[in-house]
Amino acid sequence: MKALQLKSRRFRAEREGDWRRLESLLARVEGRSAAGLSDEELLAIPVLYRATLSSLSVARATSLDHALIDYLESLSTRAYFFVYGTRAGIGTRLGRFFRETWPAAVRGLWRETLVSLAITIAAAVVGYILVSGDPSWFGGMVGEGLASGRDPTATTAFLRHTLYDDGGKQAPLALLATYLFSHNAQIAIFAFALGFAFCLPTAFLLAQNGLMLGAFFALFVSHGLGFELGGWIFIHGVTELFAIILGGAAGFRIGWRVAFPGDRTRLDAAAEAGRAAAPVVAGVVLMLVVAGLLEGFARQLIQNDWARYAIAISSLIIWTGYFYLPRRTGPRAPILSGSGRAA
């Protein structure tokens, strides 16, 4: 009969019901979603969670039943993750992403974006000058597969033909768009991840991209097709290059903060950089969907240079306006450091 007087035992007998109730509610929530619970049950979870936490504290201080403490720890942990976890619906989250998170994150990376842009432009200029001076550089900058006949030995007629007819036999446009999107998006995600290796591989990727651009321009300008090539590239290139530059910028942010964490620990600095840069990359994937559609459909269907330029310029205006125009809505607009200065 002595056992009944043990406080730890009475304690367990009194609280066990609450624990079991919390356990069964959690099992239902984890099984499907919070939608399966009534309001009353949903509201009960935080209360039961706090009761269980307090039980855990008491048990640690007074009970020597090891299995009981393990159980309470595991139950509290599960409840903790539910209570403090994210429960916003996918719609709300997407809305927030487009309204605030994405543009704010892009603004937050303005310094890195300028660096990416500078690298791309510098590489393009170098590529242009080198190939204009000596066409044999072309092979070194543009792979054979990508060039597919568009090299210094090609005739003007052939080059013009590639800008408008797209090789005569029509690859299905949707297929082309899909392929371009998934290929480019993979590269953008890759550029972001590579930033972790202290920025250098990302810079290399951007430079390679710029050199290729410059080399193509040099080639087509030498045949008097510079203006036409501009239309052909920029109709989707504004969106695509912008996306790649942003992907590179996200990589730079991470690499730079890992290399030079400042007055924080490397771990904290990296985590902060990762969270600041991730929405940019997620957005880049979306931009590349748009770029893929423009490249796969619009470029094939629109053959007029001026129309192509019009689309290019309006896409530039739309993207820069969306990202960089200061906005009044959303009381919490400047979430990320640096966004205030950029805006």
Binding site: P172, S182, F190, A193, A271, A278, V281
Partner: protein, 309 residues
Amino acid sequence: MTVVGSTPAPAPTPAPAAGQFREFVTPEGVDLRLRVGAAGERAAAFLLDAVFIVTTLVVFVLLVGFAGAALASLGVEELRNGLGSAVFIVWLLGFFFLRNFYFVFFELSARAATPGKRILGLRVAARDGGRLTSEAVFARNAMREIEVFLPLTFLLASGAAGDDPVAGWVMLLGILWTGGFALFPLFNRDRLRVGDFVAGTWVVKSPREKLTIDLLDAQETAQGGFVFTADQAGAYGIKELHVLEDVLRRKDAKTMAAVAERIRAKIAWRVQSGETDASFLSAYYAALRGRLETRLLFGHRRKDKFDKA
């Protein structure tokens, strides 16, 4: 919502045992003592997920392929071309989304774990105790590009390098470099991979313990007129009590006999008629726990039998 803050954690953290527990203080000020997922578990979870992804892709391609073939046999030329590209588009998109969003999708769900992690009892959590944001989940999975796909690319390319010695060395360097990313979790205490490092997350155990019976209940039903003196009941400390608890829960006859033997010797117990090892141990457990818990209420936490407190 930062967690480490206002309320100081209650002090009695019983020595960071074994190095696998991590302090994790909730906003209410209670330390949940999380356990970090071991490298082996993490690898196993990833392999499972890889298997799931590949299986899904194969099944998916077979289905689309069969459907395409069935429709194409209808014989309309235009239709066939359209179908061919449709199949290919579906494949391209399926591959892209599985590769990039399989992990993101599952880790954003309520359990914050992919099926592989769920099977191994793991989940993703923010290291600072805050919410696991979608940014963090996206970042940790985007990093997989350099942790998995880059090393894989080098490995595959090294096979293609052939006899060219320069290419061979380049490949070797590449494999070493990218291997560093892949093996990153082995070089830090919390088994963070590059993605965890960048996203501020970690992967912790989330076991589902069942509430077992209180051993005191068992003792009560067993009955028996065991009476221990204060000295006998106080021969051991908390550590030994927990060992005894494990022994009783496991119910292995051989171990119980050995343990009962040792305890009887230690407390100079005279065996009574009709006394079994199980009933003796369970009665002694009740007595020991009763004594230690009573002392605990007065602030004496006797760690083990060598502790004179």
